[in-house]
Symmetry: C2
């Protein structure tokens, strides 16, 4: 392994001069600098980041802790984080906690031991106390998707605002008998969406049109399995708490000859890449997933540079995507690509 000492020897200067030249700092004559740079290239020198950060106390790594990298929501977010970080000279240490509090805790531990420059956490289980270990080391933390506490900077999609758009639209479409199919355990995002439903309907004096709120689940299978119960309420519209479950319902409907949107309208939430591909493209709320990652990284890098900044909260605005499952006309594929592009804006 070639170090600055080797270069120094080869150029008959001292390591400090080499360091200055390599880091493009002032105080090196053009002649010597060029000589050093050439020698470095020739010898295949590569800076030892860890050694450098030991003295500068600045790490080139940030940590990313997520519940499940296989879930497209988090995968897209991770894409945004890694892209922004890489573009700004940071490397991303990925910790996939698998929705396990213990693995999450040990991820925090390891990131702390690595003295990362900052951490982005998407979690439903992490507490402000668990994140305390970072504060001890002056490592800034940004919560993504789920605000983890009043003292922690967070970047989230505004579930309430997004859901409001959807329910306004649903009412405008003339829905009379709505079923709200939600998850088994109520998370922050679910309850925000439910709150939006109640508020919008109430504002229009249409509260009676919500004929049932059912705890169905959140997976494809649960959507499929729950459809029978839902249909027993004879709804003319169904809101599924997320797209995955809506897709399960769609699958059930198709197999049982139930026309969507003709017999029953269907809407989801998230706008997965998949949701525009199925035979009846889903009307849903687009969550800016890549953008969430980008923004979280951006805010984190800012906090890394300005250690004393006050905790802030950034809300990304989701937007309604009208597709066939609610009766709108829709150009196949065009929408998907366009949505994807919009996420980068």
């Amino acid at each position: 392994m070639v170090s600055i000492k080797d270069i120094a020897r080869a150029c008959a200067v001292t390591p400090s001069t080499v360091s200055r030249a390599l880091n493009r700092r002032a105080g090196v004559s053009d002649k010597v600098r060029e000589q050093i740079l050439n020698k470095a290239r020739e010898l295949g020198y590569r800076r030892h980041e860890a050694a450098a950060s030991l003295v500068t106390a600045q790490s080139p790594h940030i940590g990313l802790v997520i519940p499940d990298i296989v879930n497209p929501y988090y995968a897209l977010m991770a894409k945004g984080v890694t892209a922004y970080a890489a573009a700004h000279g940071f490397t991303t240490i990925l910790c996939n906690a698998d929705r396990d509090a213990n693995r999450e805790r040990s991820a925090f531990e390891r990131l702390c031991a690595a003295r990362v420059a900052g951490v982005i956490v998407a979690s439903v289980t992490a507490t402000e106390k668990m994140l305390g270990i970072f504060r001890d080391y002056g490592i800034p933390v940004v919560a993504a998707e789920n605000p983890l506490g009043p003292d922690i900077t967070a970047v989230c999609n505004d579930n309430y605002a997004g859901a409001c758009q959807l329910f306004e639209h649903l009412m405008a479409q003339g829905c009379e008998r709505l079923v709200f199919a939600t998850s088994l355990h109520s998370a922050f995002s679910s309850s925000e969406r439910e709150r939006a439903c109640h508020d919008v309907l109430k504002a229009h004096g249409m509260s009676h049109k919500l004929i049932a709120t059912l705890k169905i689940g959140s997976t494809f299978e649960e959507g499929y399995a729950g459809m029978e119960e839902i249909l027993s309420y004879k709804p003319d519209a169904i809101f599924a708490i997320n797209d995955l479950m809506a897709l399960g319902m769609l699958s059930y409907a198709q197999e049982h000859g139930i026309a969507i949107p003709k017999s029953v309208k269907l809407a989801g939430f998230d706008d997965l890449p998949l949701s525009s591909m199925v035979s009846v493209p889903l009307t849903t709320v687009h969550q800016r997933k890549i953008q969430l990652g980008i923004k979280a990284a951006e805010v984190l890098l800012h906090e890394i540079e300005h250690p004393q900044s006050e905790p802030s909260r950034i809300m990304l605005l989701p937007y309604l995507v009208k597709r066939a499952s609610l009766g709108e006309s829709y150009t196949r594929f065009g929408g998907a690509k366009q949505d994807f592009k919009r996420d980068f804006e």
Copy 2:
């Protein structure tokens, strides 16, 4: 930040004794050790990995370079890698190259600068020469999915063997007019699958039954768009180079009233989580994706511990998954979960 010096001072011993105690090395009296351990806990001491690895020359990080974290194939692989690495005390630096040779190259550069303990690379563009920068630093490299060269250890799914199973089955099903729909640019995995097709058909004296090999693409959209051309050949069976494209074809078929498998049989490759969920579950070849990641990490850690080991090649055996798109009966969902479980075996 509390260092071993602080603990040493508090316990009235020297840093080396603290180091010994903390690392559970011999040569510390039980009494002193306990005192040190307690003090460390009390002060909230956390080992500075980078400083330690500077002297031990052992990094706690491995690098993972993949083309696209959003693609479920790589996401599952990443899950396997991170899980195995974490279980063995390694942290994973994720580099998402986005199928861009430049970003890939700069990922290599950064991993090298981080002096990672080893690297797992899933790539179609990386060359043995590009990976040379790791050899200079004695950093072992394991190629995943795509063998990157004769001197590089690789862990791959055996595309040829998997495809053979599929084509044997296809022939046994009595297919008479087969269309092979492949990608636009021929990668290693595609050509292996094509080779299997030719070999199997030839072995049965059925080469004439392959009526066309068409370069259609590899995405959902390309599958959808290419279906018209494919159908113009009047096939009774179609092999799509991957599931995503097969799903696009399925979507086209459903919209145009073409019954699958009744009018045309359809088979894919990969076995995405999705493939068992669609209305006509796909017959396909299951690639062990999580297992690929686990195995790659396992082999890498072995090479990290045994630096002089010879390059090896490990082939994972994919297996045929018979579902409705080729005419078999199939229990909805049961299969998907079971397949997922099998991946962990």
